[in-house]
Subunit: 412 residues, 2 copies
Amino acid sequence: MNVFPELSPSLRTIMTPGPVEVDPRVLRAMSYPILGQFDPEFTNLMNNTMAMLRQLFQTSNQWAYPVDGTSRSGIEAVLTALIEPGDRVLVPIYGRFGHLLVEIAERCGAEVSIIETTWGEVFDPQTVIDEMHKVKPHLVAMVHGETSTGRVQPLADIGRACREADVLFAVDAVATIGGVPVETDAWFIDAVIGGTQKCISVPSGMAPISYNERAERKILSRKRVERGLRSGQQEKVEGFRIQSNYLDLSQLQDYWSPARLNHHTEMTSMLYGLHEGLRILLAEGLEARFARHLLHEEALVAGLQAMELPLYGNPACKLPVVTCIEIPDGIDGESVRAMLLERFSIEIASSFGPLKGKIWRIGTMGYSCNRKNVLHLLGALEAVLLRHGLKLPAGAGVQAALDVYDKHERIA
Amino acid sequence: MNVFPELSPSLRTIMTPGPVEVDPRVLRAMSYPILGQFDPEFTNLMNNTMAMLRQLFQTSNQWAYPVDGTSRSGIEAVLTALIEPGDRVLVPIYGRFGHLLVEIAERCGAEVSIIETTWGEVFDPQTVIDEMHKVKPHLVAMVHGETSTGRVQPLADIGRACREADVLFAVDAVATIGGVPVETDAWFIDAVIGGTQKCISVPSGMAPISYNERAERKILSRKRVERGLRSGQQEKVEGFRIQSNYLDLSQLQDYWSPARLNHHTEMTSMLYGLHEGLRILLAEGLEARFARHLLHEEALVAGLQAMELPLYGNPACKLPVVTCIEIPDGIDGESVRAMLLERFSIEIASSFGPLKGKIWRIGTMGYSCNRKNVLHLLGALEAVLLRHGLKLPAGAGVQAALDVYDKHERIA
């Protein structure tokens, strides 16, 4: 047998748009001995987690629970539940994760209509609304915060228009939930998907979702009880059967309901982590948390601008938790990232598709979004860029960020 | 904001057929600070995990990696990859989890043929082979160890016959992997699914799978590169597109290959746990681990028989890691389970469908499979049954189990 040495991961400063660093209290919770999935203590934790998710999603929906998989499992669970073969779906795309929505919707058998805008921009809501009236889709699916381009799409007007037209509105809020306001009810979102490993700062592995009664009606019209659990004859199913069993929301909501109808075996340790992450998040308070993300964004941006590094994208729709830098001419972006990681143990990200090799992306999310990390990153990035031969005003980046922090402390 | 108290789960003795107790070394690993998913340290851990999974599955397959979801996500990933709409699939059923295979295969659009045998029995392999020759399916899917009935199905002859007939053979080894021999290559299994939360004793949340080149050929014939990651024109796809994106093995194997093509964000902390669980398992050694499971089964069965509790099912095909007891007449099975949990902090399981309320199921799996747990359980069960008015030879159960341990210590 070939046995490997025990785990001993290096301590990294993670400044990517996810996954990001995890609060030690969350990590500690993940190391607690497990409970059985039907232990009343555990089902109580499941209920408390639902109650906290409702607050996070700013919703009065009954259904707010995690899907047991990484973020895209939540997106697929929602789209698979809400899209029947042949349904018309409108997806406005302004970055990579819009394409993912199309990819998944197509696999659900949807007739997908796409509108695209330039990467680095978002849509004027009226453009989406006009297209929605033209296409008359069953569902509009959109990304709230695009980590691939660092942009955030205003949603309230689109949500209202969808509701008025009786069109379902599903939103990928994986990158924004917990760092930027996501107002599920106020923005008329019928189904919303969050991610754990970004602004919630819990390790990747669960996808919190919430949906309202409009979405639930569609889901229940397609419900089947699983073979081997049914008593008697299978009830008549109105709509197309949901194509996944693992991601079948009609079954998952039974498992999360007082009926506790057996489905998968809940991920105990991930739920411990999510429970603790939500506790910490709500104790900080949503408003305070959003303000903290804005403060560190301001310091980071001030530092980068003082270093004369051009920021990517339209600043009017910048996503506060992701800052994108255009890689200067003549600089090998991957070499800079590698040196940051190897010498300074700091990780930043590159991007995808048309932006691959063109921009760096820096995340200021959740637990990683703090003064120490911003200041270390600016100092290290300066050192690495100097080492790569780039001319820049040495020392200016960290000083500019310190100025921002000093200014806010004077105000506070 | 309504904030809940911090986590403080009770310490349970978990003697169900999963999830079971987790080795403290695995729990410790899950509390380590995370690495980014493309950090070379992390991708190295991914590679080491694959190498250890090959040993666990006793295979020389290239592909052995976890699917990021609970066990049934692995089953669905394998079936969704190997079944195209209209494919004929044969599922021999001898318990609840055979029904799950049918459920999932139907959702993949399969034309499913079923043979069933009485719960508490397994199939004579020749029965399955004859049916396979009659149905001429593309795929035979079977459960190796049925936790719902506590039985284990011999697979080698069925596997050989499938290979000779050029039929794919997929096996759900969720309950057996790590506790009972699972010989992927020697038994001609084309695709096999394991579970973490049973004999591997890692928390629920990942589904290790392995598949060979025969399975891979089917998967690659259906491959598409994801929108937003494609360069240029989409290649022509031969077979039906795989209906899930999240569980698409053609994409997952690219993510687990040196290409590291971006898909989901790997579950860092779960991977830490799996890595450490596999290390501990291989350090114990597969043969020693299987022998340990047999020893504690022997002690448990001796104790239950000394208490004059009738065991459920055909002993010739008993699954060593699950022992089922027929609930004595006049005893409320759920009341006994509740008292075991509340007074003794010990959890055992009930069962499903036709066996609901008829049997208790006791797991001796992985880290939970130890002398202390067997002896505590026997003593506590006796006390609870006496408290429920059952007549039994008091003291005999624990003494009989101690006799088994003493005998083995004399031999060793």
